[in-house]
Subunit: 413 residues, 2 copies
């Protein structure tokens, strides 16, 4: 299932996609703040959105668009203002930006999807936004993936992009992606945005199902501090420009495409968790022996989200008690006599009871992770077997450090 | 409904209760570690226990006892070891301590309830425990409430006790309580234990219902870091020694008793939240305008538990965005156009949109709370109206400080 390779280019790696990112002046910092992904032909589109009752105008806009038609040609994203808690004015601004972009691109306004991230409760900097659209379109390029990825960042420390390639009938098929993560932004919301491009030819319904499942196995399984944003969204376009035969039925090719899509989403999700505010390492939790995948994911996410587990990892403390306690409160039934907990290769708990282990070596394992390089050696692995079924699932988080508190306490609205 | 007054004495304030707390040597620190509450006559008993799948032996023991008979005469609690993740040996130890205490008190072993808090995965210090029981019984006294409250603490900074008194037919009726809180303990679990004594005469079924409801409106509505312990429990005894007529039906007297019981539980719950690790203030969240009380409680608890809200309060930042975002993701449907948020007396959000407010004064309000005295001036109040119904509910938490991370990161197993 993993016969794909990593390539460069991010969202512009797949055929027929262009992208751009520019400084339009929406951010006081004069960092890039306007980002565009453009497909040269109409692409099928799928979206996954925040479940919050408090939603940004762009989220409502995309949901409405995608209910009407499951296709799009452009994704316009700004950073600087989130366009949330902005009422009717915010909605009008969203509609206007979509129309302006459509005019400039000479496409139908219904082919434009929108995303925003930044300060909530403030109106978008519309003069700058309006003035920025022509140069943004002008900057579109087949190598613009990284510029686009830059322009969606807020307090993220690094850009988050990935592209994978496989072959169908000896022709390359590619999926690219970019995301922004959990760096909070004035006035401080954890917004996760992810955009995926794909040049496979695939039916709308299959693509939508794949995107839903991939999101469930990636973005929905990361946790930095348990807060959900008003603006969270994943938008995924597939434009068929690989010129490979259309995938319209479940089967080997669909599975191969979904595996690659899931890998793209998991890469971006892990990059977001790794870049969690103040984080020194990525925590990967794998749960096996659960009644089903959903139950396993639930337990994994509860462990990855536990403040006690997170601060123990930051303290380089091989604390099986906190891991077991988090598993126990996750709402999934299991027999504690069957519980097994591993930290890296160290078996800490077996049959629900602690076992002897080399505490210094286990602490050293945690210490080393904090010194690892980005997304390579810096992953702490927690493996939990519930001994109560065949279901397995993963979740990702990061440790809880002094810097998390500093960033979120000292950043005054 | 609030015609009761605060009195001294804690769990020994109600008639016919004695208590004791001693140093038995279960803790390396030689702090008090063995606690006993004793009713001179058999009392009806109700319990509320952790919902975790990973439970201490004492929790399973109490649940079994209370399923067999809803009465008890003694509650034996040790601190130092939690007797969780200890397997069959832990169960046998629990049974032995109950039997030893029953022998010494000359009561039936089935009249003994058990609680433990401390290190998990370690066997209780049985030689010290055995040797401690005779002097513990010897120390029983009608003024022993505070000593008992001391002996259940772990890393708590203060004891948590309360006693309230009202009159039924011109005779005093009292409820006392003590609790330990969210100070974590080596190897670090947030255990909440609470014990309530009452000298009213009340039917078993009414008492059990009252205790369940009071727990739901107090202990189940506090959050320090979202972690649930293996040992959490509330045990409540009512021995009828006030010699007032038995309350056997719902009605005015039952309501009066329940109001007092709820007040006792809320006092203890707030004391636990206020003593959260590293906390500088108590956060009280009141939600109104929800579909029902449960929905209101859910939203309140989500806000009180949000790491972003908690760190904003620590940073003295009147951050309505984080409060609105937490409300939005609580799983309760509402129209964002109706959302209203107040911080103290400052209106921050109205009709889902930010309003002008005196930012410096609001920040000062938060600053003052941190300087308040214990459970008096140090409460930050967040009031949220969802505008979607008549339900209201409260939750309590504390701010998230550097010290939380320090305590939980640097405490090595």
């Amino acid at each position: 299932m993993t016969d794909y390779k990593t390539i460069s280019g991010g969202v512009t790696a797949p055929n027929g996609f262009q992208a751009a990112g520019i400084v339009a002046g929406l951010k006081a910092s004069h960092q890039p703040d306007l980002s565009l992904i453009y497909s040269e032909s109409s692409a099928i589109a799928a979206g996954v959105f925040t479940t919050s009752q408090v939603r940004a105008a762009c989220v409502d806009y995309c949901r409405q668009q995608l209910e009407k038609q499951a296709s799009a040609q452009a994704i316009l994203c700004n950073s600087g203002q989130a366009n949330a808690a902005t009422g009717q004015q915010g909605w009008d601004d969203a509609v206007e930006t979509a129309q302006l972009l459509a005019q400039t691109l000479k496409i139908d306004p219904t082919s434009v999807l929108l995303a925003s991230t930044g300060v909530i409760g403030q109106r978008m900097a519309m003069p700058e936004f309006r003035a920025g659209i022509p140069p943004l379109v002008e900057a579109l390029s087949e190598t613009g993936g990284n510029a686009a990825a830059q322009a969606i960042l807020t307090t993220d420390l690094v850009t988050k992009t990935i592209a994978l390639e496989t072959t169908f009938d000896d022709r390359p098929v590619r999926i690219g992606g970019m995301a922004k993560g959990s760096g909070m932004i004035h006035p401080n919301m954890a917004t996760m945005l992810a955009f995926v491009t794909c040049d496979a030819a695939v039916s709308t319904s299959l693509w939508q199902e794949m995107v839903q499942r991939a999101a469930q196995r990636s973005f929905n399984q990361i946790t930095v501090d348990g807060d959900t944003s008003t603006n969270d969204c994943l938008l995924a376009l597939a434009n068929g420009q690989s010129r490979t035969p259309a995938i319209t039925e479940p089967g080997e090719k669909a599975e191969k495409l979904e595996a690659m899509l899931t890998a793209v989403c998991q890469h971006l999700a892990k990059a977001i968790a790794r870049d969690g505010e103040g984080a020194t390492c990525l925590i990967e939790v794998e749960v096996t022996g659960a009644p089903d995948e959903t139950a396993a994911q639930q337990v994994a996410k509860t462990i990855a989200g536990s403040s006690l587990v997170k601060s123990a990892i930051f303290g380089r403390d091989p604390n099986w008690g906190r891991i077991a306690a988090a598993a126990g409160r996750a709402g999934v039934p299991f027999e504690q006599e069957n519980l097994q907990v591993k930290l890296g290769n160290f078996l800490l708990l077996k049959d629900g009871q602690p076992v002897e282990f080399d505490r210094a070596a286990a602490s050293d394992y945690l210490q080393q992770a904090a010194k690892g390089t980005y997304l390579e050696a810096d992953t702490v692995t927690i493996t939990v077997d519930l001994g109560s079924g065949e279901g397995s699932g993963k979740a990702w988080g990061c440790d809880l450090s002094y810097d998390y508190v500093r960033i979120n306490a000292e950043y005054t609205t």
